[in-house]
């Protein structure tokens, strides 16, 4: 079975590179008019076929990865963060393919495919080995709940991509009015957030390739039910250079990095959860590398990133983008309700004896649902189309990502098996 898992890993890599290639092709497809070709329409038609074929091949490769890993691992690969995130990226591509087949706009590929690529790269940060299932996860409802919820979320991701495109298309980057400047700034912050995620992935892979390691010993004091304090010493391993050491810890091993031979700070005392120091250090690194990436890009384009992308969106009907964003969310909403709430409730009822327990993950799924319900109700009101609704689509996907990643990173709960 080992060889099957290896093959599965190869298919995953193939999918990744095909997506990257597809992204480049989609960019070529829509930027044809800038090359002053004699026949832009023919150029677009030709490259649309090429890029869509490539992205579809990538999707097929990832579906192959998914099923071979399922057979090889003996259970559906959605039980840890690596497996879940790669499944999510696969469903984003499936959702993209469906929406593309309805609207046939190449420009959607320029934004939706990178979202899938980033989610997929993010998945690769986590340990890839097939892990043993704990009894609670050994249920048919796990498969149904997780896959349906991820499908709904994938459509929200497409809605996010289209919403962001709408903003990049319609925000007036030349204007100096207060309203325009505010819109420009928020678009820039959104792009920066995406870069921070890319920065996180990049720094993890860089230091992994360098084999970096630092080890700390941390004394963890816990108070048990009889109000007795007990302490135990835990070893915390860092794979990124420790800017922030765990609270109340001593250094065991520290590979030096750029002349830095000891941590610069210690985590505050209230960050005393499991691996809280390491998580904080990871966040610090993500922000630093994101800012470096942003700075580099600014140096290259010499204007705000939004203003740099804006011209590429010329000639695209913003109303189409608005429609695509709304449609994707409308398709995703029932799926999300079914997967993230109803199936989750059925599983919780069987596994934990109650369909709802106000576990942080459950609450955040509900928050996501309430957010998109508000979006759908607002869409029916006057004045909530276009810009406002695109912002909601962007924020909505941030809520989704917080539910999927942030809750595990910041708040622990019953779903903590999917640890970061």
């Amino acid at each position: 079975m080992k060889s099957l898992l290896d093959f599965s890993g190869d298919a995953f890599l193939a999918a990744f590179f095909l997506y990257c290639l597809a992204f480049v092709f989609y960019v070529i497809a829509i930027s044809g008019k800038m090359w002053k070709k004699s026949d832009p329409a023919a150029h677009l038609k030709r490259w649309k076929v090429i890029s869509f074929t490539t992205s579809t091949l990538g999707t097929i490769a990832q579906i192959t990865y998914f099923f071979t890993r399922w057979i090889g691992g003996g259970h559906i690969p959605t039980s840890n963060m690596y497996e879940f995130m790669s499944f999510l990226s696969m469903m984003i591509m499936v959702a993209f393919t469906i929406v593309y087949l309805i609207y046939r706009t190449a420009v959607l590929g320029v934004f939706a495919v990178p979202v899938a690529i980033i989610v997929m790269a993010y998945a690769s940060v986590f340990p890839q080995e097939v892990q043993p299932l704990i009894p609670a996860l050994n249920s048919i409802w796990l498969k149904i709940h997780v896959t349906t919820a991820a499908t709904g979320e994938a459509f929200f991701a497409v809605g996010f991509a289209a919403g962001l495109m709408y903003l990049l298309r319609t925000v007036d980057f030349a204007s100096k009015t207060k309203k325009a400047v505010r819109a420009q700034r928020w678009v820039e912050i959104t792009l920066l957030s995406v870069l921070i995620i890319i920065g996180f992935i990049a720094s993890v892979f860089t230091f992994r390739a360098m084999g970096y390691e630092a080890v700390f010993k941390q004394t963890i004091v816990t108070v048990d039910s009889q109000q007795q304090e007990s302490s135990k010493i835990e070893e915390v391993k860092y794979k990124l250079p420790a800017i922030v050491a765990p609270y109340d810890s001593e250094t065991v091993k520290f590979d030096s990095f750029l002349g830095m031979s000891k941590p610069l700070f210690e985590a505050p005392s209230w960050m005393n959860g499991a691996n809280a120091g390491r998580k904080l250090n990871t966040v610090v690194w993500a922000v630093i590398s994101g800012l470096i990436l942003y700075g580099l890009l600014r140096l290259i384009v010499r204007k705000s990133l939004g203003a740099a992308i804006h011209p590429a969106m010329d000639g695209i009907d913003p109303e189409d983008l608005d429609e695509i964003s709304y449609r994707a969310i409308a398709i995703g909403f029932p799926l999300f309700t079914l997967g993230a709430l109803i199936f989750a409730m059925i599983w919780a009822q069987i596994a934990w004896s109650r369909f709802w327990g106000w576990d942080p993950k459950e609450v955040w799924a509900l928050i996501t649902w309430l957010f998109y319900s508000a979006y759908l109700h607002l869409r029916l009101s006057r004045g909530w189309q276009g810009t406002k609704s695109s912002w909601l689509a962007v924020i909505g996907f941030l809520v989704v990502m917080f539910t999927l990643v942030g809750v595990n990173l910041v708040i622990a709960g019953l779903h903590s098996y999917a640890g970061v």
Partner: protein
């Protein structure tokens, strides 16, 4: 204020009507207005649009507003986030919440607790918000669905010209008719039917409509949500809801409090992953990761002598089930879930012998259960009577023996022994089955004090581990939740409504001829892209080439 609600077509409309219910003429707009019409609820008057509202009307109007509904949703959403900042009280079984938050999180924790956020989801304001959302669901739906139903069930085929030209999808053109307008209209029926439209014609006018049922989707969804919320509230009905967390040591029958049921943990097994089955980075760390744990449970119902503590209840087995995580026992809605386990072995029973210390003669053995111990034992010629039992032996401040808990942590038994060569009234003897307790509480000294020489000559002692019964403990959640069927029905109805509302759209195409001039209007509740493509397709079938996008008459894309 007097308002003339009679349309020029002669139809008398309700107050608040936007579009004439009969011909569709916009009633309130200026004659020269030309932006697309407000088509929500087909322009009918909603129930809340009354002149001179009374107090009840005002409450009704408040809850019937979608704006209020959105505010309620957003407030609930923000309120819910507060409860995820720190763990909720309900999630920890041990510990005192009043000190826990301050101790763990400092001042912020104290504020959190003082504000009642440690039980956000049962706080009055959160429950109030949920009840208000429920009210809003009912009133918003009733306010709209009845007038909408009325409007859609009696539609006019030939609509007012301004109704058509002010749709979001419009086409108006002189047609080079080869026959009559009626013939043209008759020909248009076929391609529309092919696209699943129901077509109604009236001379040179036509109405094509499809998937009207999708309009009921939101309301069906709301009905489902209301049933769901009511079911949650119904758990407050006595007897509808029970939730208990009980430890079941292996081999023991335990009564489930407040019920007639007894449950026996016949056997508890836990299977761990082998080290070789763990991922490489976890190997060699002596990690115990459970692959499976299960309780072989037997459920009994008490049939006689149930509430008389002096008599042993008569139990009848009703069902047996191997309870695993994800595989609860279910007996007519009485559920038992595998929740946790304690692999520490606890003493369940011993089989000690009664012997003469000086001669080494063994008079016999007897079976001593820690729980449900028999009150008397015959061992050879001797008779043992159990006078006192302490499951968790200890001495209080006056030096009197007491039991500290009902768990067999340090069991001790006080026997009165009668038989040959003993004092007539018998001899008292303390027996500690566990060696550690025997030494800790000094059994010999205790017995010497109680009965002098007797304890030097006789003893009760376990001979070998084979005579010791140990057991693990399984923790089960016992639950009855009679609201569950309603919860699932509510969820299913809600889901049905969502699918109806989101995966189909209600599309209508109206057209009329005035001489040779064709005027066409199209409306959908969602997905204008699909609407335009339907109209473009119809025109194409009628040999009119038109770019789908050009049919768009502007206005908002709802």
């Amino acid at each position: 204020m007097f308002q003339n609600t009679k349309c020029e077509c002669g139809h008398q409309n309700h107050v608040g009507t936007v579009l004439c219910e009969y011909c569709g003429k916009p009633l309130n707009d200026a004659e020269d207005a030309n932006e697309p019409l407000e088509m929500r609820y087909d322009g009918v008057a909603r129930k809340s649009q009354k002149a001179n509202p009374s107090l009840i009307d005002k409450v009704w109007n408040f809850f019937s507003s979608v704006k209020i509904a959105v505010y309620l949703i957003i407030t609930t959403l923000l309120g819910a986030t507060l409860g995820t900042i720190f763990p909720q009280e309900s999630t920890f079984i041990n510990g005192d919440p009043s000190t826990y938050y301050e101790k763990t999180y400092g001042t912020i924790g104290k504020i959190y607790y003082t504000l009642g956020l440690s039980h956000t989801y049962t706080s009055w304001w959160f429950v109030t918000l949920l009840v208000m959302i429920g009210t809003s669901l009912v009133i918003c739906s009733l306010d709209r669905v009845l007038p909408l139903y009325r409007a859609l069930s009696k539609q006019q085929i030939r609509k007012h010209m301004r109704f058509l030209t002010r749709q979001k999808v419009v086409y108006q053109q002189e047609i080079a008719l080869t026959g009559s307008a009626e013939e043209w209209v008759a020909q248009a029926v076929k391609p529309l039917r092919r696209r699943h439209y129901r077509v109604h014609t009236d001379g040179s006018a036509l109405l094509a409509e499809k998937y009207r049922f999708s309009r009921w989707g939101p309301y069906i969804n709301h009905i489902g949500l209301i049933i769901f919320l009511l079911a949650v509230l119904a758990r407050g009905i006595p007897g509808w809801y029970m939730d208990q967390y009980i430890a079941f040591p292996e081999g023991e029958v335990k009564r489930i409090p407040d019920t007639n049921y007894y449950l026996k943990n016949e056997k508890f097994t836990v299977k761990y992953y082998k080290d070789s089955e763990l991922p490489k980075e976890m190997q060699g760390e002596n990690r115990l990761i459970a692959e499976l744990y299960e309780t072989n449970a037997v459920l009994y119902e008490c049939v006689e002598q149930c509430d008389d503590p002096s008599k042993k209840p008569v139990l009848k087995e009703v069902t047996r089930h191997n309870i695993e995580v994800n595989k609860p026992l279910d007996y007519n809605g009485f559920m038992a879930y595998q929740t946790d386990y304690d692999p520490t072995l606890r003493l369940r029973s011993v089989k000690p012998e009664f012997r003469n210390k000086e001669t080494g003669e063994v008079y016999g053995e007897f079976q001593l259960e820690m729980r449900d111990s028999a009150l008397s034992y015959d061992v050879g010629p001797y008779h043992l009577e159990l006078k006192e039992k302490y499951l968790d032996f200890g001495l209080n401040e006056e030096g009197q023996p007491v039991t500290k808990s009902q768990e067999p942590n340090a069991p001790a038994f006080l026997f009165l022994i009668t038989g040959p060569d003993l004092a007539k009234e018998g001899e008292l003897y303390f027996y500690f089955p566990l060696q550690i307790d025997k030494e800790r509480f000094d059994q010999e000294a205790l017995n010497a004090k109680l009965s002098g020489d007797f304890a030097k000559k006789f003893e009760i002692k376990v001979n070998g581990m084979k005579n010791v019964g140990l057991s693990t403990t399984s923790f089960l959640t016992i639950r009855v939740d009679s609201a569950m069927p309603f919860i699932w029905v509510g969820a299913a109805i809600s889901m049905l409504g969502l699918v109806m509302g989101f995966y189909w759209n209600h599309r209508r195409i109206w057209l009329r001829f005035d001489g040779k001039q064709l005027t066409l209007g199209g409306h959908t509740n969602k997905n204008w892209y699909g609407m335009r493509s339907d109209v473009a397709n119809l025109l194409k079938q009628m040999n009119i080439e038109v770019d789908a996008k050009s049919l768009d008459n502007g206005g908002e894309n709802r």
